[in-house]
Symmetry: C2
Subunit: 359 residues, 2 copies
């Protein structure tokens, strides 16, 4: 029931901001269009990729704003796209680092540009390098578009600057999370401790906390106690969100993922699920998973084998249980965060929505 309320909130936000988002990109495109036709190509590709997002973070920004007492829904929707522009930029860079080929059902940015280079006659290696170079550039561009959209928004100067401080701090923490993630493969001792850090920085804080806190600050609500409550709620929400993403990355189907099933396995991603598995599984089962992890390509039957072993090890149930605990903890915070019944329902529904994607 409450899950439905949250889903409606997300859908309504996504529907009502799609045009704002595209209008902003169109306006920016026109502003720089006379430079060269390449500008249109870049905006076109970026808009297509960015427009397909679920806009979960943008919706949480609106929610944070409402929780902070903000009432100008049009204003918050207008500004909140800066969070989605950032996200799109980070994904473009992330896809280069993870060597992902598909994102949101489309070829990743670096793949699209690589194809141009192949068509222009470059060899495989130079074409890859061209694609990656363009993707680095497009990501950088997205960050500055994000800042521009924040800075031109209709909020007071002091609020924008307060937001800016939180914004840069969270992205810096996210970048360190990403650095740890990229480096994890280099370390022999990938401990649950490290996986937890990555999970906390790259997702729990970035996806769960940052948008809620920024939304509240946009509403002019700065007090530490309130922001602290939002942080705790957001950490739990983000934690469950990421773990569910990891589970979907292994147990989901291709359509839901927007990329081939097994790509997480091919990347050798050290998700919490995997780490826990390596902690508890039987040696012979570990060996099997170890031999599949990082292989390319991973076959359908290998995916099924890993699924079976993860389930058998009890880790699937364990992680679901951990998610349940996080959810319960966060639920208890809700009455302190707001007394508004509608917003309480949405906060509760968000947790259910995120948690139920696990089950």
């Amino acid at each position: 029931m409450k899950e439905e309320i949250a889903k409606e909130y997300l859908t309504e936000y996504a529907n009502s901001t799609k045009d704002i988002f595209l209008a902003f990109l169109k306006e920016q495109n026109q502003k720089y269009s006379q430079i060269d036709p390449l500008v249109d190509l870049i905006f076109n590709r970026f808009a297509k990729l960015a427009a397909k997002g679920k806009r979960f973070r943008g919706a949480l920004t609106q929610l944070g704003y409402e929780l902070g007492g903000g009432e100008d829904i049009d204003a918050i929707r207008d500004v909140s796209i800066f969070i989605e522009l950032l996200h799109a930029g980070l994904l473009v860079h992330d896809d280069v680092m993870d060597r992902d080929e598909f994102r949101r059902g489309l070829p990743t940015m670096h793949k699209q540009f690589k194809l141009d280079a192949i068509n222009a006659g470059l060899d495989e290696s130079n074409a890859s390098h061209y694609g990656e170079s363009m993707a680095i550039d497009v990501g950088d561009l997205a960050f500055y578009l994000s800042w521009d959209s924040l800075m031109q928004s209709n909020f007071s100067d002091s609020v924008k600057i307060a937001v800016a401080r939180h914004y840069s701090e969270y992205v810096i923490r996210t970048a360190f999370g990403q650095a740890l993630d990229v480096t994890a493969n280099l370390r022999n001792d990938v401990a649950a401790d490290l996986a937890n850090k990555i999970l906390q920085l790259k997702t729990a804080e970035y996806t769960g906390v940052m948008p809620l806190v920024i939304g509240a600050v946009l509403a002019g609500k700065y007090d530490d106690e309130f922001l602290q409550l939002l942080r705790q709620y957001g950490l739990a929400l983000g934690w469950v969100f990421q773990v569910q993403d990891d589970i979907l990355g292994l147990f989901g189907d291709e359509q839901a993922l927007g990329k081939p099933v097994g790509s997480d396995l091919e990347e050798g991603k050290m998700t919490l699920l995997m780490l826990k598995f390596f902690e508890v599984a039987r040696d012979e089962d570990k060996k099997i998973v170890q031999s599949i992890l990082g292989k390319s390509p991973v076959t359908r039957s290998e995916v099924n084998k890993v699924r079976e072993l993860i389930k058998k090890s009890g880790v699937y149930d364990l992680v679901v249980k951990m998610g349940k605990e996080q959810t319960t903890k966060a639920l208890q915070l809700i009455p302190q965060i707001t007394r508004n019944k509608r917003l309480q329902d949405i906060l509760e529904g968000m947790l259910q929505f995120v948690f139920n994607r696990i089950n």
Copy 2:
């Protein structure tokens, strides 16, 4: 004479901001240090690379501020490092795209991290990918450190936001210049027109105009007429700066470059010098240069051959003449920009300083 005044201005700026720069990075390092030892490693490497800059753009920011009537030199020095943080971030990304191995006499960021991966036992290709991924991340980090340093500075909120608008617009234009530069190799018809666009966006605007304009805005001087004059002066200054960089890239020695002589040739960089050469040189000379351009490695005697042919074609003299014209044009603007004799001398000296590196 006036060149000496400009050099002193640059040196004094560089000396007096080195500590500010390092103190900012140290403070930020401490703020995030508890995350993981990797944070210290990243800050360490970034600070080393960033601290070695000539800080030309930062000094121009201070100059723009003084031209705009600003008098608080401490305040402008404190804030101006945000321009240098941006620059360091862009260089880190640029080096990945250009596959450069040395920067400012040090291995480039992606090379440093690649070496870690080699030492950890990764093969060449995976180690390269690791190095590049880390460099992408470090660049992203630098952009957000740059924003953070601007936003936490002691200027009024409205000034900071006015600066932010210019800042994002110029970096967006720079990113398009970079995209054009990267894409130039894909196009068969690299015309002088395209090379000029790249030169304008990536250097003339970015290096010459942006710092001066931002400096003026920091001084609270926003009027269009004044900013327009600064823009014209900055475009000329930046144009000469870049062309001189291209000349140094071919005719300079290793120590001045901070990277091996011939790396521009190995990259196949389509500088204005090269473009003009291909426009005017004799077919047999073009063929020789064509056969060297993009080769790896380019030998010392090949570098000398290219030098000889460029000189013989008359393009070297032509480009020097174009630089002279740009300089003359910019000199005429100075009395309109400021009536302050000291600042007039510095503006004149900057042009001489930049131009004389060509000769």
